[in-house]
Structure formats: structure tokens, C-alpha cells
Amino acid sequence: MSSVRTVIVLGLAVGALASVACSSTSNTTSGPAGSSTSVVIRLTGSDTMVNLDQAWAENYKKVKPDVSVQVAGGGSGVGIAGLIDGILDIAASSREIEAEEIARVAKAAGAEPKAFVVGLDALAVYVHESNPVQSISIEELAEIYGDGGQVLRWSQAGVKNTSCESDEIIRVSRQNNSGTYVYFREAVLGRTRELRLGSIDQSGSKDVVALVSRTPCAIGYSGMAYAMPGVRALKISKKKGEPGVPPTVESALDMTYPIARPLYLYTRGTPTGPAKEFIDWALSAAGQQVLQDIGYVPAPAVSK
């Protein structure tokens, strides 16, 4: 499923490259009279943010008809790799860029990447709707997902999941270029513990939720905005026994929800021209309204 989308996204990316090539050639040949050729902004990265990026691109077209934003997904890692290789204008990322990556961008571009926090996303933990569990703690998640974890069956987590005959917990995770994966690993296991191998690694945010909706034994994590019929987002608490907090815009904003994270746009150095205008617009009231409409949480304050 995600692969279908990956192919489409790749197709779009190729199309984008082609149109970049075309527009640049037409610019050089058309001379001063035909200077109204459209500008292309290449925006690639986080799969969590693909829907958001696309909604932004569509709405930005209404504000600036001559600027087209070419959106592609693939994962935060893909975006940051593209930023290092210099093949895109803006990288979307659902995790913070690492020191090593900053150094690589600085080496390749001559300037450190500039970060913009454009919104927040609450990472929801989903189970099949027939699963009776309502709330789970970060500690329990660490035992389920972590290397050496002791909770392999629903009964060990104190859940009587009758629709899951084998009682086995099927861990649905993301492929390792996903910002969601990196964030989840760090938020649940910290920096010193690995995820246990053998999870079902899906390549898209939506695929995780879709798979959970079809698998009574499954548990999976994905963006709050990807909730769909057939699954339930669990309430999350930090420690076992504490009351859980449901993932909502309010709980993400006041930081009572334990696994909410910032969403970033990165540029090579301080952006100029069309890329700067686009990011300014995304941070404006209009851009933030688009973000809120599709289920994300507006950026808390001016970005750093």
C-alpha cells in the first residue's frame, strides 16, 4: 500500500525534476519577455508530514499561482539526505536534525541548516477496536517494543484480548528512515536501549494504522491525524498505574500528553526568495489553519 504511494510519490518527484529542468531551460530561452515562468519549490521528507505538505502546496497555489510546490515523502531521513545532497529546497522532518547531519549540510552547502518548527504532532498508539485495552504507560510500551522486553503476550500486559487467539502481541513499527520511528524509539526507550527486532516495519504512517485496523493482535504507533475506523488510540501515561491522557490538540499543546513532538522544515542556510516566502506563509495564520484542519497542532510560538 505504502509502496503504491511511494511509487506515486517517486513519479511526482521525477515529474518535479523534469519540470524543474524544463522551466530552467525555458527561462534561458524565452528571454526577458516571457519571464512569468512558474517557480518551483522542492519540498521532500517526513512521511508523517506528506498530507500536511500537500495541503499546504494546494492552498499556497491560491495565494501565489505562479509558485508550484512539489511535494514528495519517503521519510524524514530522505528529506535530510536530500538536503545534504542539495537536491531539494526544503526538507520536512518529524525529528530534530542530528549534529552529524548539521555538519554534513554545513560542509556541502557552506551554511548550517536553518530549522523552523511549523507545528506539533501527537504520536498516537493504536490498537484494533476489538482490543479492550484503553490506556497504556510508556513503561509498558518499553517492555513491549524494547530489546530484552518481557511483555510478549497481551495477557502479560494484563489485557484479555479475546479477539486475538494466539495472545501474541504483534508490534507494528516503521522503517528506519522514518522520523516517527526515531522519535518513538527515543521517547519510549531513551538513547541507550534498542528496539527489539522482529517488528512489522511499515513504510508509511497510514499503513501502520491500516494494518492495525485489520489485525486484532496488533499494536502500532503513528501520527494522531492518521486515526481511522477500526482502530482506537490509547490514552498514554508516563508510569504504570497513572491515569492516561488521550492524544488531542489540547493535551499536545499543554504538554500533558507524553509523546508529542515538533514538526520541522529545514533549509540549507537561511532561506531566501520563494522558499522563505513559503515558510513564512506556512507559519502565518492561514498556513496554521490548514495544518489544524487536517489534524495537527499549531506551532506553539515563533520558531527558533
Partner: protein
């Protein structure tokens, strides 16, 4: 006059056509070596550098992205590729060769044409669609039928790959059977052999090489298939203990992870080492096939 001109033209054209055909032949060899060279070149710095080959082949820990210590063990991925391919061949070789025998020997002509068109249509379905079928259709069916906790696993991937290989095995196998001269059949029938005896005693031995080639082409398709197994096998790094365990294959790992890696990084290079490994495996399969076929031929001639 005209005749002489035409003759001269044909004298000119013939070497030209010959040169073009020769170029086509050589280019195939050239491209194979070029692909191997470039894949190997990207992986080589890691292969001869930081990569611990012992760990590479014996560790099940595939953690290329670890913050603590990156680990590049492909044993689980090898086990995934091997198990899915083996199951696919177990299902598709008998089915494909059986279909070939039926279409070529037992089928009424009208049914044969329809059947061939339908089966060849099966071969035209893109692999991503097969993956989609495994993911959306077969997954819930397998959960319901086998009681497995999850339906994207070896069984699912094996069935999907078998369905993808059967058309190839059938087409090539049927051609091989058709290539057996009718005089063989007639001679066998004249000796009083039944239809089944004709197939078993005469056609199968006579078409052995072609049928083997059919099976090996099927294996090639299974080992190299990427998109369908990425979606249908569950993409989970683990040594499988039963047919109902999800696994991850070598090809799917490259497909899922190459986009993220930074050019020239360790992870990038290890993925190319895996690519080299896959090419070596394909080479070995083909070489074995060649030797087996040669052996068979030698015996027949001798």
C-alpha cells in the same frame, strides 16, 4: 544495372546488419559487467573496510540506524529470502510444469488458446499489484484460515511469489515441450504407450533442459522480486520458526532503506554490499543451471 546496384547495396548492408547484431550481443555482456562493477564499487570501501564479514553473515542484528552501535547482520534477511523463495518454488514449480504439460499435451486446442492468454495476462500484472493483493486480500484470509496473529508472513509472500512465477514457468516449459519433435510422440504411441506414459517416459526426459531452464527462471524471479515481498512478507527482521512468521528479504531491505541513506555513508555502502551478494547469488544459480544442463546434455550425447 539495377541488379548490380542492388547487389552492391546488399553487399554493403550485410556487414552493417552483422555489425549491429554483434553490437547488441556484446552490449548485453557489457551491461551485465558494468552493473556488477558499479554495484561492487559502491560497496567495496565498506566490504574491505569497516565491515566485519563474520558479523555480516552470522549476526541476526540488522540495526543500521542505531545510535548506540550500528550493526549490519544479514543472517535474518538471508533466512527471509531463502524461506520465501523456497516456499514459492515448492508451490510454483509443480504447478507451472503441470500447467505446461496440460496445455501442451492434454488440452483441446480451443481451451489451450484461452488458457494461454489468461495465464500470460497473469504475467503482465505489475508486482506492486501482487503486493497489494497479498497485503489487502490474502492477509485477512490467512488470519481467518490459519489462526495466525498476522497474515503478512512467509506463507503470504510464498503464495504471491508462486503466483508470479507460474506464468513464466508455464510459458517456458510449454515451449520446451512443444520443441520435442512429434515423431517422438508418434513412436511412443505406436509402441503402445498410454498418454501419461508418453509424457512421463518420453517428453519429460527429452525436454529436460528446457524444463530446468523454466524452473530456474522462476527461481530468478522469486529471488529478485522486491515490491511484492516488501508488502506481503511483513518486513520483520527475524529468523522465522514457522511458515506463519513474518520475515524480511534482502531485496526489500534495499528498497525500503536506500532512499534514506546519505551517499557514501556506511549504511549506503552496506546496502550495495547486499546488492553485490544478490548478484553473486543470481550468478551462482545461473552457473549451477548451466552446469546441470551441460551435464544432462553430455550424458545424452554420450
Amino acid at each position: 544495372m539495377r541488379h548490380a546496384a542492388a547487389l552492391r547495396l546488399s553487399r554493403l548492408a550485410e556487414p552493417l546488419v552483422e555489425a549491429i547484431i554483434r553490437l547488441c550481443g556484446w552490449s548485453a555482456i557489457f551491461f551485465v559487467f558494468a552493473i556488477f562493477f558499479f554495484v561492487f564499487r559502491e560497496g567495496a570501501p565498506m566490504l574491505f573496510g569497516a565491515l566485519d564479514l563474520g558479523e555480516f553473515f552470522t549476526s541476526v542484528n540488522w540495526r543500521p540506524d542505531s545510535r548506540i552501535q550500528a550493526q549490519y547482520g544479514v543472517l535474518a534477511l538471508l533466512a527471509g529470502t531463502a524461506s520465501v523463495t523456497a516456499l514459492a518454488m515448492l508451490l510454483s514449480v509443480p504447478a507451472g510444469l503441470g500447467a505446461a504439460i496440460f496445455v501442451s499435451e492434454f488440452c483441446p486446442p480451443r481451451v489451450r488458446e484461452t488458457l494461454k492468454i489468461v495465464i500470460e495476462l497473469l504475467a503482465a500484472i505489475p508486482s506492486v499489484v501482487w503486493g497489494f493483493i497479498g497485503y489487502m486480500v490474502l492477509n485477512p484470509v490467512l488470519i481467518a484460515v490459519t489462526g495466525a496473529p498476522i497474515g503478512i508472513n512467509i506463507l503470504n509472500g510464498g503464495i504471491i511469489l508462486a503466483l508470479m512465477s507460474v506464468p513464466i514457468i508455464m510459458s517456458v516449459g510449454e515451449d520446451a515441450l512443444k520443441a520435442v519433435p512429434d515423431t517422438y510422440r508418434e513412436a511412443a504411441i505406436a509402441l503402445g504407450a498410454s498418454r501419461w506414459q508418453v509424457v512421463y517416459k518420453v517428453l519429460l526426459p527429452a525436454a529436460k533442459n528446457g524444463l530446468l531452464a523454466a524452473a530456474l527462471l522462476g527461481i530468478g524471479r522469486s529471488v529478485g522480486e522486491t515490491m511484492a515481498v516488501l508488502m506481503a512478507t511483513g518486513h520483520a527482521v527475524q529468523i522465522p520458526h514457522s511458515l506463519l512468521d513474518p520475515v524480511r528479504t534482502l531485496t526489500a531491505t534495499i528498497a525500503a532503506e536506500l532512499g534514506e541513506t546519505v551517499e557514501g555513508g556506511d549504511h549506503y555502502r552496506v546496502l550495495f554490499v547486499i546488492g553485490t551478494l544478490l548478484m553473486l547469488m543470481a550468478f551462482l544459480v545461473n552457473l549451477t543451471a548451466d552446469l546441470v544442463v551441460k551435464g544432462v546434455r553430455g550424458k545424452q550425447n554420450g
